[in-house]
């Protein structure tokens, strides 16, 4: 299907270099994502971890080209899908990529589906648009997708409205929509946060299973390190718009090095831990328009030094595939 575009086999599937996204709607312009670079290989799952306001969702919307023009835009850098530059791509070409080659599911299954259209219509709409099928064929394909994502009685669900379904069911419909055109990449923005714990596991399992079946890559955005361990190969930890640590998942879980990542691990409940006490990271994420000079994490960091308050820490390789943005790596 995608044989026409130039494919450069040396390029990874998705390559982002020095992407900066800024918002201009407020009183002062705000840098929501600062100089982010990442690479996503074929059939790889990359997790982006961070608290709300860390810029992880903005990263996803930037890739999709969905930052509202009235509010902000990607001001710098490059996003390449198989070598094709997405930044500055015209609207029409971008609509051929969205939902087709890169699709996305969202955190809120309750509100992400259009309440006045049936689930089937919303599903068929994507299929008709990107796969150029007629109604009959699209309906068949929609039926197939619904059963693929494990919806019982897909026949009757096709004509149901969103309000007639549970949250887990709606998220399955969202996933069916996202996968219906066999995308190369699916971005899942906190896909399980709004769901019950038992449903969460089912949905994650479903994403994993379909990923290998379709042969796509996944960018999983989450604040939950437990989810990361189960699904991802690569991890990016973001804080206040910047990547603070980047590593293979095993590496990060075995040897987290950035104080913020360490804090995230310390705040996880551990079943085997001797004490039941959790240690949350003290303080709050600074607001993006009031970032301090130097390291953004300084006010919450246990290991803060003088230099942290003066200069931005560099992003350094701790080991060849493990990067961290902290002054603590400079002074052994």
């Amino acid at each position: 299907m995608h044989t026409l575009e130039k494919t450069d086999m040396t390029e990874p599937l998705l390559c982002i270099e020095n992407m900066t996204t800024r918002f201009f709607a407020g009183k002062a312009p705000v840098t929501a994502v600062d100089n982010l670079s990442l690479e996503l290989g074929r059939e790889e799952t990359l997790a982006i971890v961070g608290e709300s306001g860390s810029g992880k969702s903005v990263t996803a919307l930037s890739i999709m080209g969905l930052i509202p023009k009235s509010q902000g835009r990607v001001t710098r850098g490059s996003i390449r899908l198989k070598g094709q530059e997405l930044i500055g791509l015209d609207k029409k070409a971008m609509t051929r990529i969205r939902g087709n080659r890169i699709s996305m599911i969202f955190q809120e299954p309750m509100t992400s589906l259009n309440p006045v259209l049936t689930a089937g219509f919303q599903l068929m709409e994507v299929i008709q648009k990107h796969r150029h099928m007629d109604r009959q064929k699209a309906r068949k394909e929609a039926l197939h997708m619904l059963s693929l994502v494990g919806i019982p009685e897909p026949d009757s669900r096709l004509d149901a409205y969103p309000h007639q379904m549970s949250g887990g069911m709606r998220q399955r419909v969202m996933i069916a929509m996202a996968l219906s055109c066999h995308p190369e990449i699916m971005i899942a923005d906190e896909p399980t946060t709004a769901l019950d714990v038992t449903i969460q596991a089912q949905i994650l399992h479903l994403i994993n299973q379909l990923k290998s079946r379709i042969g796509m890559s996944v960018i999983l955005i989450t604040h939950d390190l437990g989810v990361v361990a189960q699904t991802a190969q690569k991890v990016l930890v973001m804080y206040a718009g910047r990547v603070v640590e980047q590593a293979w998942v095993q590496d990060l879980f075995d040897h987290p090095v950035h104080p913020y990542t360490l804090g995230l691990f310390a705040s996880l409940p551990k079943i085997k831990a001797k004490t039941r006490r959790l240690t949350p990271i003290r303080g709050m994420v600074p607001s993006l328009d009031k970032l301090p000079q130097g390291c953004a994490f300084q006010d919450r960091c246990d290991k803060v030094m003088d230099v942290c308050r003066k200069k931005q820490p560099p992003f350094v390789a701790v080991t060849p595939d493990h990067f961290s943005r902290c002054w603590c790596h400079e002074s052994p």
């Binding site: 087709n100 259009n114 309440p115 006045v116 929509m177």
Partner: protein, 337 residues
């Protein structure tokens, strides 16, 4: 759709109608001036006056008069017009058709252009397009329609002479009425000359009548669209790669219709009221002008009938809005299971 909701609405409607009939009946009797005197003039003898009062039933008690009135009304008998001596119902029906034709035309114009302006305003929020549309809408809601009508007549009928000044058809046009709606009848008779003539006569009054509802619809459409465009499902539609036009017309407008429909219903009443002024200006032979004339001539029976018909029309429109609302919103239409 839940049938108990509909039946409750119908009961409500009947109660309101009873209230309306009482109010109309009582208020008419409060109008100073004796209709018998008015009909016979100053020189009538007391005997003649008494005889006419008896004929008109004016010498009975109020309660008896009201009972007779309700009984007749339910039988479709609105009495004899005190001015013309013909049954009121015969005078009303052709005029009702004229008012319906004018109101529907006005509503179509108001809806189409109001929604269009509202969408453009929302899509191009805070641009020249938005400011122009919203300033026009503000002027529109402040518009004295009778003045607008006169100015349109001056510009198009007097100055440029491209539009007829008044009435529904050229004098002397004969057409057998089937529906009473000139445009529809002309189409049935395949008489395109009359159709064109009727359309030319309809344009100015319909535009005049549509101004205020159009402005209101534009404003509500804008705010409804702005609210809907912020919803998660709009982001989903964009993420699916839908063209922006599909996102706006299918996904956003589909949801924004709900508040718009509500406002449309409210404004249909405004439109019916506006018909009183518009029909007066354009000498449109409709119910609005007829009710004012009847009121001035103290034609009780005619006024009674007209006002009741207006109230019934408004109630039916409100009922229609409820049904339409339910039809457009699956959360009401389909019972969750």
């Amino acid at each position: 759709m839940n049938s108990s909701v509909i039946s409750r609405r119908i009961v409500q409607l009947i109660l309101i109608m009873i209230g309306v009939s009482v109010v109309v009946f009582l208020m008419l009797r409060m109008i100073p001036g004796d209709p018998a005197q008015l009909l016979l003039g100053e020189l009538a003898s007391p005997e003649e006056l008494a005889a006419l009062r008896h004929d008109l039933g004016l010498d009975r008690s109020l309660l008896v008069q009201y009972t007779i009135f309700v009984k007749n009304m339910l039988a479709g008998d609105f009495g004899i017009s005190m001015r013309t001596g013909t049954p009121v119902i015969n005078e009303i029906i052709p005029r009702l058709a004229a008012t319906v034709e004018l109101s529907v035309a006005g509503m179509v114009i108001a809806t189409v252009f109001g929604i269009l302006a509202g969408i453009l305003s929302a899509v191009y929020k805070n641009t020249v397009v938005d400011y122009t549309a919203m300033l026009s809408a503000l002027v529109g809601v402040s518009m004295p329609v009778f003045w607008l009508g006169l100015m349109l007549i001056y510009v198009f009928a007097v100055h440029f002479q491209v539009m007829p000044m008044m009435g529904r058809m050229e004098m002397g046009t004969e057409m057998h009425a089937i529906t009473g709606l000139v445009l529809v009848d002309a189409l049935i008779h395949m008489d395109f000359a009359v159709f064109k003539d009727g359309l030319r006569h309809l344009v100015l009054p319909a535009v005049t009548l549509s101004t205020i509802p159009m402005a209101i619809i534009a404003r509500i459409t804008r705010s409804a669209m702005l609210e809907v465009m912020n919803q998660d499902y709009i982001r989903t539609a964009r993420a699916k790669g839908m063209e922006e036009s599909v996102v706006i017309l299918r996904h956003a407008l589909g949801n924004a219709f709900l508040p718009i429909i509500t406002v449309l219903g409210i404004n249909m009443g405004l439109l019916l009221g506006g018909a009183v002024l518009t029909e007066t200006i354009f000498s449109w032979p409709g119910l609005g002008r007829y009710v004012v004339d009847s009121l001035m001539g103290r034609d009780y029976n005619a006024v009674q009938a007209c006002i009741l018909i207006f109230a019934v029309l408004m109630a039916l429109i409100n009922l229609g809005v409820d049904v339409m609302y339910a039809f457009l919103d699956p959360r009401i239409r389909v019972d969750g299971d």
